[in-house]
């Protein structure tokens, strides 16, 4: 399609940054995520009631006094959902940051030193990947003992290998590129080339992965809490609130609203991550230019 390719080459090239902004989903994602972050920061001001106070009529449906109703113990569900953002968001961000750091370091080391080091590190990622995430996370969480902290730790254990693989691949390909080779020839130290030349190329993909991983981490964390391996009652955590809802599901509001909260947060990060991936990886991009006869 020579002439067609030609026609398309003629189109003006857009720069990457505006491309991100031209993605409506990215904007929706940013707005929702930002809203939740604001809610988390100002939760005590926004929540009308104490999330732990069992002071109201139990199991009352949504009303003007209790937007999301009250739960079986007479707590205000709206306040609990608001306060739940202070549990899920900071923990998810921290654990993803931790997993990304550990994974990136392991991947960089494996990609940089290659050989036996690479072999050992990559086989260990294979081992983690051999387990479906929730099974491994469940076992680790159970072994460490129930609790939010241990559940988060368990998710770090499952999450780091994907960063290791991505970073290793990038370091391998960047390390083979001519400019890094020449930097090495010029006598730049290993550490310096790694920091100067390799890291900047790795940052983008790791960031995309981390955004999408935030979504997964929140899902997994709330899943573990749902199973009773994460947050323990009476803590207002979304997953365990849904679990309470399953016991009293004739009172649908107890479980539905915390679930909606999880859904919107995860959706925001997925919108964002998916759009970012389009921007960073032109191969999977959905640009209009994909017209072929």
């Amino acid at each position: 399609m020579s002439s067609l390719a030609y026609a398309l080459r003629a189109r003006p090239r857009a720069s990457w940054i505006p491309a991100a902004w031209r993605q409506p989903l990215a904007i929706v994602g940013i707005v929702i995520a930002a809203a939740w972050i604001v809610i988390a920061i100002f939760a005590p001001l926004i929540a009308p009631d104490d999330p732990l106070a069992q002071t109201f009529t139990p199991a009352a449906g949504p009303s003007w006094h209790h937007l999301f109703g009250t739960d079986e113990l007479g707590r205000d569900v709206f306040s609990r959902v608001i306060s739940g953002s202070r549990v899920s968001l900071p923990i998810a961000v921290t654990l993803v940051a931790l997993a990304a750091t550990i994974g990136s370091i392991v991947g960089a080391v494996a990609g940089y030193f290659r050989g036996v080091v690479d072999g050992i590190l990559m086989r260990s990622t294979d081992l983690v990947f051999a387990f479906p995430p929730i099974i491994l996370a469940m076992v680790v969480a159970a072994v460490l003992g129930r609790g939010l902290f241990n559940a988060a730790l368990a998710i770090v254990v499952v999450a780091w290998p994907s960063y290791a693989r991505v970073v290793r691949g990038l370091v391998l390909s960047v390390g083979d590129s001519e400019y890094v080779q020449s930097a090495r020839l010029l006598g730049a130290s290993s550490r310096r080339t790694l920091v100067r030349d390799v890291l900047p190329n790795v940052a983008g993909p790791v960031f995309v992965l981390a955004t999408l991983d935030l979504a997964n981490a929140i899902l997994l964390l709330s899943g573990l809490s749902f199973l009773g391996l994460g947050a323990q009652p009476p803590k207002a955590e979304w997953g365990s609130m849904v679990a309470e809802g399953t016991q009293y599901f004739q009172w649908w509001w107890i479980g539905t609203f915390p679930g909606l909260a999880i859904f919107t947060v995860v959706l925001a990060f997925n919108f964002l991550g998916d759009s970012l991936r389009d921007v960073f990886d032109p191969r999977t991009a959905r640009r209009d230019a994909e017209v072929e006869p």
Binding site: A130, F131, P132, P133, V140, A142, L229, F249, G259, V266
Partner: protein
């Protein structure tokens, strides 16, 4: 075929690694294994405790204990569950079919819907249908499975009463004579159509809930796989031959896109298992997910180790099969 052999060797090593990880993890549990396994009475009997410790090599250092565990494993002994007081292998045999049946229907549904959606999205790329499916599929992977299960149960069972709320069959109904362990298939074999419908009826809600995530995943994968092949000359050549669009899409586009779609089957399976752990609890489905959950919550060490080894080995085996299948579907790889 050297490729298959090499992957097979890697699979064996990986499986050994899996047993090691599961073993070491479970050994970290602080517990008096004999007491929890034998129960109060027997634990008071020093001879019984000694025999137990002897059998599982509990008086040996860790590496030796691992080797003993492996030896038992090879002989089909995964120890005894401290919750059910049955052999773990026996328990697995009890619980696997329920999950297998659920997974089968769920994956089948997800594959059909996901491939159709993904193809539509790709054929209508950058049109409203494509954008709608993108948002829909992102929503699908963003909804917590346990929450969908709750909502589905509330609406489908509590409000509308269209579906049973729990279990594989109505309470008090005897399952069909076991051949495969899958009630729908066993019922058909036994010729009991009423039982078949009942089993299917109980399956629908949990299977659909489990499928939600995979429908989205497969939609997204199929879309990009179809887009990879849609601009190829052979697709244009097929149209130039005057073939009807239906044949161009199915025989030319989907046929070429299928291998890349097949590669996510491992992921699809992992998602079903993840979902099963959460969904089985809500639907009181007596499957492996429930068993894993009970084992983890009760720190039932042999059961945790057994179930995680089983699940992981199945998982890596599926990924191995997918790799081989990829070669079977694509004749270019078959030769080399």
């Amino acid at each position: 075929m050297r490729f298959v052999l090499r992957r097979l060797v890697a699979l064996v090593f990986l499986s050994i690694g899996i047993t090691a990880v599961a073993f070491v993890l479970t050994q970290l549990v602080p517990s008096n294994a004999a007491a929890t396994n034998l129960g109060e009475q027997a634990a008071g009997d020093p001879a019984a405790v000694k025999a137990f410790d002897q059998h599982y090599g509990l008086n040996h250092p860790l590496p030796v204990r691992y080797l003993i565990y492996l030896d038992h494993l090879v002989h089909g002994d995964l120890g005894q569950s401290s919750v059910t007081h049955d052999a773990v292998t026996h328990d697995l045999g009890q619980f696997i079919p329920a999950t297998a049946e659920l997974a089968l229907y769920s994956i089948l549904f997800a594959a059909i819907v996901g491939i159709v959606f993904g193809t539509i999205a790709a054929l209508r790329r950058n049109r409203p249908a494509d954008h709608a499916l993108r948002v829909l599929s992102l929503a699908g992977i963003s909804m917590p499975t346990f929450w969908i299960a709750l909502v589905a149960l509330y609406v489908g069972f509590y409000e509308l009463g269209w579906f049973p709320g729990a279990g594989r069959l109505n309470p008090g109904v005897n399952p069909p004579p076991s051949v495969t362990g899958l009630y729908t298939i066993d019922a058909l074999i036994a010729g009991e159509f009423g039982l078949f419908w009942q089993a299917l009826h109980s399956l629908i809600l949990p299977a659909l809930v489990l499928a939600a995530f995979n429908v989205s995943l497969l939609t997204r994968f199929t879309r990009s796989a179809v887009l990879e092949v849609i601009g190829n000359d052979y697709v244009r050549a097929a149209r130039a031959k005057g073939l009807p669009e239906r044949i161009v899409v199915v025989r030319y586009i989907l046929r070429a896109a299928l291998p890349s779609v097949v590669t996510v089957l491992g992921l699809v399976f992992a998602n079903v298992l993840t979902g099963a752990v959460l969904v089985e609890k809500i639907f009181s489905w007596p499957g492996i997910g429930q068993y894993a959950y009970e084992a983890a919550v009760n720190l039932d060490v042999p059961a945790i180790a057994g179930v995680s080894i089983f699940v992981a080995v199945v998982y890596v085996t599926i990924n191995f099969i997918v790799d081989v299948l990829y070669g079977v579907i694509d004749p270019r790889i078959r030769i080399t």
